[in-house]
């Protein structure tokens, strides 16, 4: 219990809320998350739902901390069950220990065996009965009040959060909600069960945002003003967020007939001078590959935000996996140098997407930004996102007399003419071409243009944002994307256990920063490469770059279960 009552750096509190369709587990989680943010703490909230399209049972998983929370914990401290319908579907995702506390409504049936055997710490309250005493009352809000009291979240804060989340529902619903919360709050549980939160000392600005919203915001901030896309889980929220917000900034979004169309639409818009992006997931990225090759060959800047899900094929659409790395790196035909980036956290979705737009504009290149369901569809309370320093403007053609669209130059980036420029009219082409842009099958033209397209990416100075290095020690955990949160936490625990451990989380996956990578890993005695897929795609990629020593190991765990810190910790403890 100590690690919870006294909230040190590492101390966090994990809460799961489950319930059948319509029980309001998700709304409960949203209000709690907003309350946590207002209280000045950080949190991560992910959701899991059954196979039903709408309704059906769902579970919300929150982890609260005094500093930014980027991974779920190994198990849950509190489980609030609004009812037990189909709870076995979630039991794998919601592990508990003998110390876990279960809040439930005795009128909704007995505790399922999985939980009853595990812990004796239960709080039973007639949530639905209590809700019925209030007009329009709902059991989930009574449960929320009970939970808030238990964790020491002030009533006024919960009420303000409820007001914020439910204001669109009208006064009647709001008043009933507040009464329910108050009733639940009055159900003071046994003193010994209380798990108080404490507020941080200085409360700075906090954002409550999902990874997909952060990607959308990063795109806007990078300058994207045209988006075309075809809906797909778990990427659609990027588009749903962008549609109204793009309009606010004078941009536009088009729902395409398929991904073959969406990738080509953004190529057309970018050719017209407007920074453009599409968002998709694995199946859509597969369809986009030919178009992306066209963007590479014609040197038209575009960004694809790819939110990964379980694959191959339709796979597991609603669950996370980092298994599109090979496709993003190697999916193109021909030699097609391009940029591949990964966002390291929900907050980083904004930074990385913005950086991607700026890089593609600067380099007239293609970038694929890899995030995944665990980042995209989760929400977090974060510090405002960081912004890249790069200016990120396209090099434009002026009024040159003998304009050559694909002219060779030192930085290999040739000025681009935008329609409207009367002096530099040209035809962009996916056929190999000479400097002028005229189709050519000559060996020298092919060699020169291949070199140009590679050099502009490899010669560029990407700066310190290529990766993030945390901690220090002779053990080095190397990771990318969403696996960063759990990996860093494992490294912290290892360091605390007397095994100083460093984490290297790579943001710029391609082009690969070989020299920098070697510097960071030079003194590592033990190396473990951590990722959430079955094939160890990143491990193999690093081996192809010849940057790993022979003793390096791979920890590759596929979805759908989240990668938990203890899996990584135990692997190192067991001597890899």
């Amino acid at each position: 219990m100590d690690r919870k009552t006294d909230m040190t750096e590492a101390a966090t509190l994990s809460i799961a809320i489950v319930g059948s369709g319509g029980s309001g587990a998700v709304t409960t989680g949203k209000i709690l998350l907003e309350g946590i943010a207002r209280h000045g703490l950080y949190a991560l909230m992910s959701r899991s739902s059954g196979p039903q399209i709408r309704g059906g049972e769902s579970a919300v998983m929150l982890r609260i901390g005094q500093s930014s929370v980027d991974a779920l914990d190994d198990d849950f401290d509190i489980l609030l069950a609004l009812d037990w319908l189909n709870v076995e579907r979630f039991s794998d995702e919601i592990p508990v220990t003998e110390e876990s506390l279960i809040l439930h409504d005795p009128d909704k049936g007995d505790l399922p065996a999985v939980y009853a055997q595990m812990t004796h710490r239960h709080v039973a309250r007639p949530l639905e009965q209590l809700a019925k005493s209030i007009e329009n009352g709902r059991a989930n809000m009574v449960g929320l009040g009970l939970l808030a009291n238990l964790i020491g979240l002030p009533l006024a804060v919960v009420n303000a959060a409820a007001h914020d989340i439910l204001k669109h529902k009208g006064e009647v619903v709001l008043q009933a909600t507040l009464s329910c919360i108050e009733t639940g709050y009055a159900q003071t549980p046994d003193e010994t069960l209380v798990l108080p939160l404490s507020a941080p000392e200085a409360i700075t600005e906090r954002w409550n945002i999902s990874g997909n919203e952060a990607s959308g915001f990063g795109a806007l901030q990078g300058g994207v003003r045209f988006v075309a896309a075809y809906p797909i889980t778990p990427a659609s929220e990027i588009l749903e967020w962008l549609a109204p917000n793009l309009e606010q900034t004078g941009g536009s979004l088009l729902q395409a007939e398929d991904e073959l169309a969406s990738i080509n639409m953004i190529i057309g818009a970018s050719f017209g001078g407007v920074p453009s992006l599409t968002a998709t997931s694995g199946p859509g990225l597969s369809l986009m590959m030919e178009g992306l090759g066209l963007a590479v060959a014609s040197e038209t800047p575009v960004v694809v935000a790819n939110v990964m899900r379980g694959g191959p094929s339709t796979g597991i659409p609603t669950k996370s996996e980092q298994s599109d790395l090979n496709l993003a790196l190697y999916g193109f035909h021909g030699d097609a140098p391009h940029i591949v980036l990964s966002a390291l956290s929900i907050r980083d979705c904004a930074f990385t997407t913005q950086w991607a737009v700026k890089l593609t504009e600067t380099l007239q290149a293609v970038a694929i930004v890899l995030t995944d369901q665990s980042l995209g569809q989760a929400r977090a309370v974060i510090a405002p996102p960081r912004q890249p320093a790069l200016e990120g403007k396209r090099k434009l053609a002026g009024d040159t007399d003998h304009y050559q669209r694909y002219a060779l130059s030192d930085d290999a980036v040739s000025p681009m003419a935008i329609p409207g420029n009367a002096h530099c009219i040209y035809t962009a082409d996916g056929l190999e071409h000479n400097e002028q842009g005229t189709p050519s099958a000559m060996a020298t033209d092919h060699q020169q243009q291949l070199d140009k397209r590679r050099q502009k990416l490899t010669q560029f100075e990407y700066g310190d944002d290529w990766a993030e290095v945390t901690g220090d020690g002779e053990i080095c955990l190397i990771t990318w994307g969403s696996a960063t949160g759990a990996t860093r936490e494992a490294a912290q625990r290892l360091s605390q256990a007397g095994l100083p451990t460093k984490t290297l989380a790579v943001r710029l996956l391609a082009p690969f920063s070989t020299e920098r990578f070697k510097q960071v890993t030079a003194h590592a005695k033990q190396i473990l490469v951590v990722e959430q897929n079955h094939g160890g795609q990143f491990f193999e990629y690093l081996n192809a770059q010849r940057v790993l020593p022979g003793h390096a190991h791979s920890l590759a765990q596929p979805g759908p279960l989240p990668l938990r810190p203890n899996v990584i910790y135990n692997r190192v403890m067991q001597g890899l």
Partner: protein, 281 residues
């Protein structure tokens, strides 16, 4: 970034580039190229305000032979490229060219949806009922009994695709048929198509003298449509179905024209947008 002074009238040759076409002598596509440049000259459109987008095929080579902004893309995807360009840059006049394979086979889905979306694009399909570029295979408009391709030695046996009927059903507001052998009428149709403020589909019979030499006889079989243009889709559907697909002219022109999708240019700052995420502590 300035066009020619208004009094300086542009000639068709001002819209031609000095890149030499790779087309076979006698290919119908030459006359289409020439008609396009004439139509642009007639409308005196500043070359820098015009974009010509294409896919892949002999016909799709056309943009490089013109002196306007061009995009020679990938097989079947000319319409999406043009769609993105037009939405992002509504100030441009955007033309799309390609072949029957490009537009009706690999790009068939985009054809339907472009008709439906009804953006102000002019889509010119050079139909030679064959894949010229890949040396003579059957296309969706090929006659079912055509046995000249080694790929389909017994013919396709499939009814050929009727582009005008599909365009009408999918919602195109302007549907015309032209013939490369009659460049004057074709130029006139192109002018009207470019002027039409919605999606205009111009189906051009353009012989492939190499893989379909018998199309040289089109000179004799192509004829002007007997009735005048209709604005009634039911009448148009009937005429399209009854015609021998050799009748040229403006078949259908809808009265209701969809406006170009355009948002009032708002300028809300990103700082303002970011406030939706800020929590009140």
């Amino acid at each position: 970034m300035h066009g020619p002074p208004p009094e300086q009238l542009l000639k068709a040759k001002d819209y031609k580039s000095d890149v030499k076409p790779i087309w076979c002598a006698g290919c119908g596509h030459f006359a289409v190229l020439s008609a396009i440049t004439k139509a642009l000259a007639h409308l005196s459109l500043p070359p820098e305000q015009v974009a010509l987008v294409s896919g892949i095929g002999c016909s799709s080579r056309l943009p490089a032979y013109t002196h306007v902004y061009g995009f020679h893309g990938i097989h079947g995807r000319a319409l999406p490229i043009a769609t993105g360009l037009k939405v992002a840059r509504p100030d441009l006049t955007v033309l799309v060219t390609g072949g029957d394979g490009d537009g009706f086979s690999i790009g068939g889905n985009h054809f339907m949806h472009a008709c439906r979306r009804n953006l102000d694009l002019t889509y010119i399909v050079m139909d030679n009922e064959v894949y010229g570029m890949t040396k003579g295979q059957a296309s969706p408009t090929t006659d079912p009994g055509w046995e000249q391709s080694r790929l389909t030695p017994h013919g396709t046996g499939l009814p050929s695709f009727n582009p005008a009927a599909i365009a009408l059903a999918a919602g195109a507001g302007f549907i015309a048929r032209g013939f490369s052998g009659d460049p004057t009428s074709l130029t006139d149709l192109l002018i009207q198509g470019i002027q039409y403020p919605g999606f205009s589909f111009i189906h051009v019979l353009s012989p492939c003298v190499t893989y379909h030499p018998e199309q040289k006889a089109w000179k004799k079989t192509v004829h002007e449509q007997s009735q005048s243009t209709t604005a009634d889709p039911v009448v148009a559907a009937q005429r399209i179905q009854q015609s021998d697909r050799m009748a040229t002219g403006l078949i259908f022109k809808a009265i209701s024209q969809v406006q170009q999708q355009q948002h009032p240019s708002k300028n809300i700052s990103l700082e303002q947008i970011s406030r939706q995420f800020v929590t009140h502590t």
